[in-house]
Symmetry: C2
Subunit: 456 residues, 2 copies
């Protein structure tokens, strides 16, 4: 008799063409490319497997895909949250193969979106293939919410969740991502940080001027640099007044669980080629506590004046920065936006224009819920003993988890995905190990197979 492992590999091979087609579409929500083709591809993959599919597009933004598989074997319902959009591929010249050409090297698949998050959707679908092949139907009811604006902060998702809340009721939700740490431990997250992503623009003149005039008037690059520097100290303390005031401190259990997870500084140094020491911000040492419980303020991009080769003696008329804050429980994007505006005003930077590009609140669900326990148990069945399975209160990443809590009755949520230490999500040469892909499929099979055992 063929083992599950062998059958899963065989099914992965049989579905390779539809996976590669899905990966090859440049679904960059930030740049509005490839959306209709991708929706069509996802819909086709779901319908091929017998799902009832609805493409919802009546409330603005990229379509939100609903899908449902009904089972006669269980009353329990599992919800999968995924997104079909990906990060921009830039900088192009750092990709070893074309960003949107799925390329296998040493059993690692490279493509923009393979880790975040197209590969994970495929683990759900191939798991369904396995169960349908084995039993003719699924062992529990399964629903999907697949959106197309996760990488730009899910700006249109809330009205869909509100209006169609009934469609997506479930007993638990598997979040879009997840996976393994440096030390190969498999981590399941029960929460996410929030995010506010802002663009700052300053204009000091209508034209660039000869830089000999610098003695007479300000230039935009200096204004921006000084506004940014006023917001964070060199030793990484955020200086925006009130920024830390509403932060909810973690519980002892949350701290304990978090400290179980090793932050492998050596591994980070190696994988990212870091040249600076790890941050100890005075609030937290450089370990999992910082990653899990410290809010951040990051400069994501800077542009002003002359940036090509050689010298150009110019006073830039305009300057732009993209910045973001990762938020922790207690902080909201609206509060932080107001604090940043107040800060700019108080420090004399009223000429800096602030635009919010994305906003999401943080969310944590209880680590001891019946659903999380089930996800943990099924993960133990698949990942042990090679990988320890660990539960973490919150991932450092962001997503619209709080909306699921708000509109789906405090939904219990846990992550499961194919990530690894070199996934390079959001960076060039994003990748997924095929071995993690097969395990991810098996985890989803095992979870669906055990959903009916869930308490409550």
């Amino acid at each position: 008799m063929t083992s599950v492992e062998e059958t899963v590999k065989e099914l992965a091979s049989q579905t390779r063409d539809e996976f590669y087609h899905y990966l090859s579409i440049p679904t960059v929500s930030a740049q509005k490319t490839g959306i209709p083709e991708t929706v069509e591809a996802v819909k086709a993959m779901l319908e091929k497997r017998g799902a009832d599919v609805r493409v919802l597009d009546d409330l603005g933004g990229n379509p939100v895909i609903y899908a449902s598989f009904v089972s006669s074997k269980s009353d329990k319902t599992l919800l999968f949250y995924n997104h079909y959009d990906v990060q921009p591929p830039e900088p192009f010249d750092e990709w070893l193969s074309e960003p949107f050409v799925p390329t296998l090297r040493d059993d690692i698949l490279y493509c923009r979106g393979v880790a975040d998050n197209k590969g994970n959707l495929m683990t759900r679908l191939v798991a369904i293939d396995y169960l349908l092949m084995r039993d003719g139907e699924l062992p529990c009811n399964v629903k999907f919410l697949i959106e197309g604006e996760e990488e730009i902060g899910s700006p249109h998702l809330e009205p869909y969740l509100e209006k169609y809340a009934d469609l997506w009721q479930a007993d638990g939700c598997i979040w879009e991502f997840g996976g393994k740490q440096e030390d190969e431990s498999f981590v399941i997250d029960c929460g996410l940080k929030g995010l506010i992503y802002m663009e700052l623009n300053v204009s000091t003149a209508s034209i660039d001027a000869h830089s000999s005039l610098a003695a007479l008037f300000d230039n935009a690059a200096w204004r921006l640099v000084q506004a940014l520097a006023s917001m964070k100290s060199v030793d990484n303390r955020i200086l925006i007044e009130g920024f830390y005031d509403k932060v909810v401190a973690p519980t002892e259990e949350e701290i304990k669980r978090t400290l179980d997870i090793v932050v492998d500084q050596e591994g980070f140094n190696r994988n990212f080629g870091l040249t600076r020491p790890f941050i100890e911000d005075g609030r937290n040492p450089a370990n999992g506590l910082a990653l899990t419980f410290s809010p951040t303020l990051t400069v994501n991009g800077l542009l002003s004046g002359y940036i090509n080769q050689g010298s150009k003696t110019v006073l830039p008329k305009a300057a732009m920065a993209k910045i973001e804050c990762r938020l922790v429980l207690g902080q909201t994007p609206a509060d932080i936006e107001q604090l940043v505006r107040k800060h700019l005003h108080k420090h004399g930077f009223d000429d800096i224009e602030l635009k919010v590009l994305a906003a999401q609140s943080p969310y944590r669900c209880p680590m001891d819920s019946a659903f999380v326990k089930l996800v943990e148990a099924s993960a133990n069945d698949v990942y042990q003993p090679e990988s320890k399975v660990l539960i973490r209160p919150t991932n450092a990443g962001t997503g619209p988890m709080d909306l699921f809590g708000k509109y789906l009755n405090g939904m219990s949520i846990a992550t499961s995905g194919t990530g690894w230490a070199k996934s390079q999500a959001h960076a060039p040469n994003e990748s997924m190990r095929m071995s993690d892909y097969y395990q991810g499929i098996r985890h989803m099979i095992r979870l669906m197979d055990t959903m009916d055992d869930m308490e409550g």
Copy 2:
């Protein structure tokens, strides 16, 4: 009998094709484009007028052109310093006509390089046409030094001036630029500020990382922003230790002459669309004293991370800034470079890599020299009464004037050019008024006609 004015216009018209051909070559030294064609064009224009021309290229860099016209009428020799290279044309989308297509609108000629400095070379050449047509030879000996790296800081000029110093001995030198202020006064400068142009680069990782990791490690954009901000206060005090220490204070006469020159703040506001108040830096009020005697520190360009539309949640691995200091008498590029390096080290920014892209020392020659008096008198003959003629100790701009002083026996130097308040040198839509062009030609005629009267 035809007036000088009419003949000059006629000659300008007859030489229009060679002028436009000269302008149409994209001689961008920073980007290494168009050099050989431009050298050929300049050589042809000089030889056509009977000059003895030598293209010097034995000491590296873009060729330096020497030319000489010998006169039997006078022992006096006038030297013209010009440059055939221009600034980069970027940003392209702000040009109303193509940067390298000479375009006349409302009797104003638009083209990259028309003001800085191709138009000024043409005033010298058309003045020579006039004198040769009138007398068959020039009223004094005339020499040219025309280089091709002024816009990148003349990095190779020094060895040419040293080796060929004998070729360029003269009784006075007309500098490449000059012209009119906002209020139409014609200003003659007897000196230049110095310059050090630097590129700062910082690398914090070998790849961009997902920005959720910001709690763990620094990103390059922050490092750069904080290093820059440490060098200048919000109110424009340069904070680099020792930066002002060697500044030579201006004499009373220099201050008096400088204050004669109106800094028309209204005019600047209008022409540049300024949105910020003029700088009063605590050392100087916002007037000609600051422009003439205050050193500056400018951010010319910034680049890091994601700069396209929308949001990308990335930790930039690298960041770059172009910065410059304009230097005044007493300061040298080498001193300032050392002070900047010391500053970065002292403030913990050893990870910022500093590269000097251009360096020039400041220079002032005496405002009361016989040559400057002659330039002033000849300018009075041409520009009065419409324009006041004013002498200023130092222009806020930069050039290799100190090398002329060093290798050509403390050469007496004065500026004369076709600049006006909206020349937009170094910016899009660079321009020259045709009326200033005709006057510039006449000033050069008058100066050559009076060179033999020069005392000493």
